[in-house]
């Protein structure tokens, strides 16, 4: 495997994993938001 090949692989895989992790964290935060609001109101 050449260095450009390693760079291509890491960039591609890095991009999709980063996108998933960022979106997933935001989704989990939104999921927990109503519960937090309930707690703060009570």
């Amino acid at each position: 495997m050449t260095i450009p090949g390693i760079i291509t692989m890491l960039l591609s895989i890095g991009f999709v994993w980063t996108l998933l992790i960022v979106c997933f964290i935001r989704l989990i935060k939104q999921e927990n938001l109503p519960q937090r609001e309930k707690i703060s109101k009570s």
């Binding site: 050449t2 090949g5 591609s12």
Partner: protein, 575 residues
């Protein structure tokens, strides 16, 4: 947290959580294409150039088209429709659109018919791997097993030649119908919440096994995982072709003497045949229009665009939920499985154990059911990992197939007000007849399966996507659509999104559709068209069945008075 939609005809059904709908949509998208089609294409066109085109297509075609489908789906859900036919009617207020929308229910049903058959394959292969029935030697033995098991030698062979396929086939249908019978939250959401993490875990276990293979056979020192990853990802590489079929890759660090020796060996193995050397480079790849079309096509099919499933799933999302983020997360999960896992697993495994010739140019099913079983059987602990891999494929296929049957269920429930048990019976009967015809007409290169894949799984998907865009841009209005998409959204939508959806996405879609049409109509008259002209029963029967279902669905739409009354009530543009 459970919210209900207060609307005229809407069923008292809603997703329990955003995580649930995200897993269901990503489960719908993850399927055979991720594991078997993408790695082959990326390797064929050279990793670097292909990935640039692939990510461009993801940004400008995949993500916008998914957002369009999500916006139409959620709007339709708010108005009380959960299938493509009702969505089109409720948004356009036109009777023509409801008949056009039936295509969005019919196409996934047609795809579901051959998906059931393929699920039977994966389940059967999983069982055969686990019990050692696939402990064979040589490519011919694996090819023979495939022919015997699937009954591809002649029509009806799977039912007369002692193959165990019918058992697995009907088991797969039963699993799907049971999940559907349990409903959206207790069936689909429950199943996807458990199966998707399991699928990811299984894929990671198989991936670790593949990446730790090293150089499995000392007799072939150039067959290694490193060589396999290089064949998959290197933007520039030199390959040797025998009559246009790639058989070997020249390692990047090979000396001229080693290169000469590899060339000589290939020429000796293929006496009297045309052997040539081809250089694949990043720039050359990017200048190749075929590469761009292949990348855009892969994104289009991989994200399940036009299947009608996203629309149906989106219709069960509550009004104030963030559909833009859920859609993006589901797309990202699909890409992780495709690029981050399958891209590092399939081709490196095949190259390290069987060489480049086995992985290059193999068809999707050839790679999955002939090459990979041999690959697994050649690796230490292969029986266990092979069984695990086919279990993974089965899970991926079931999460897709339940989603492609849900639009038909929703259609029957809303137009004829059938109960879930009744609609499961009707959809079950439609599917069993179609799937049985696919499993019966297996001669002539799986004629029924290929016919349905060509007309329903390809042609119809292009047309339905074109209908989505026409409805979104021309009938509903881009600003209304974008407003729906941004309702409840906590992520900022890109500024030029309206321009991209209006001009860029339709242009890309038009180019890949025209290219596909040109290749199948003018360059070579497709075998699928000729089969119909010749009156081959394997091509005519499944299509006749699809036409009959269309007529039945049109009748259902036409006779649904209750639904039409509700449409009249809801005809105000801003509900």
């Amino acid at each position: 947290m459970r919210s209900e939609i207060k609307s005229g005809t809407s069923l008292p059904v809603n997703w329990n959580s955003q995580l649930g709908v995200m897993l269901a949509v990503s489960g719908s998208a993850v399927g055979f294409g991720n594991f078997l089609r993408f790695p082959g294409l990326a390797a064929q066109f050279g990793g670097g150039a292909f990935m640039i085109a692939y990510f461009c297509a993801f940004v400008f075609l995949g993500v916008p088209l998914c957002w369009v489908e999500w916006a139409i789906g959620r709007r339709s859900g708010i108005l009380g429709g959960h299938s493509c036919a009702s969505a089109f009617m409720l948004i356009s207020h036109s009777t023509v659109w409801k008949y056009l929308g039936i295509a969005g229910v019919l196409a996934p049903l047609g795809i579901g018919m051959y998906y059931m058959y393929l699920e039977g394959w994966t389940l059967g292969y999983c069982y055969s791997m686990a019990t050692g029935a696939l402990n064979l030697h040589g490519s011919a033995a694996f090819a023979n097993f495939f022919t015997h098991f699937t009954g591809s030698a002649a029509d009806g062979a799977a039912y007369s030649g002692g193959s165990s396929l019918p058992i697995f086939f009907f088991l797969a249908i039963a699993v799907n119908l049971v999940v559907l019978y349990r409903g959206v939250t207790k069936g689909i959401e429950w199943f996807c919440k458990r199966s998707m993490p399991l699928l990811l875990l299984t894929a990671l276990i198989v991936l670790v096994r593949v990446l730790t293979l090293g150089t499995p056979n000392p007799e072939f020192p150039h067959r290694s995982v490193d060589q396999g990853l290089g064949y998959m990802w290197n933007p520039s590489k030199t390959v040797l072709l025998v009559e246009d079929r790639t058989v070997e890759m020249v390692p990047a660090n090979a000396t001229p003497q080693e290169k000469g020796a590899i060339l000589q060996k290939v020429m000796d193995d293929n006496p009297g045949r045309d052997v040539r050397c081809e250089e694949i480079s990043l720039i050359k790849g990017l200048m190749n229009p075929e590469l761009w079309i292949a990348a855009a096509g892969q994104i289009f099919f991989s994200l399940s665009i036009g299947f009608g499933t996203v629309l149906t799933y989106a219709s069960y999302v509550a009004r104030r939920k963030d559909i833009a983020l859920v859609s993006l997360t589901a797309n990202a999960a699909n890409e992780v499985v495709e690029v981050g896992i399958a891209g590092m697993m399939i081709v490196p495994a095949a190259v390290s154990l069987l060489g480049v010739a086995a992985a290059a140019g193999a068809s999707t099913f050839g790679l999955g059911f002939t090459v990979l079983p041999e690959v697994f059987m050649a690796m230490p602990g292969g029986q266990f990992f092979g069984a695990l891999f086919f279990a993974l494929l089965f899970l991926a296929a079931v999460t897709s197939s339940i989603s492609i049957l849900q639009p038909s269920m929703a259609f029957l429930e809303e137009f004829w007000h059938l109960r879930r048990s009744q609609s499961v019976v009707v959809v079950g009967m439609l599917i069993i007849v179609g799937a049985f015809s696919v499993s019966w007409y297996t001669g002539n290169g799986m004629i029924a399966l290929n016919t349905l894949d060509f007309w329903m799984g390809t042609m119809c998907l292009y047309l339905i996507s074109a209908l989505y865009l026409t409805l979104f841009l021309g009938v509903w209005g881009t600003s209304n659509g974008l407003r729906e998409l941004s309702r409840g959204s906590r992520i900022p939508l890109p500024r030029g999104l309206g321009f991209v959806i209006k001009w860029v996405t339709p242009s890309i879609l038009l180019v890949i559709f025209c290219s596909w049409l040109y290749n199948n109509m003018f360059v070579t008259t497709s075998e699928h068209i000729l089969n119909i002209a010749r009156g081959c029963p394997g091509a005519v029967f499944p299509l006749a069945w699809m036409v009959a279902i269309y007529v039945f669905m049109a009748f259902v739409v036409h006779t649904s008075r209750k639904f039409h009354k509700i449409v009249k009530k809801q005809s105000s543009p801003e509900l």
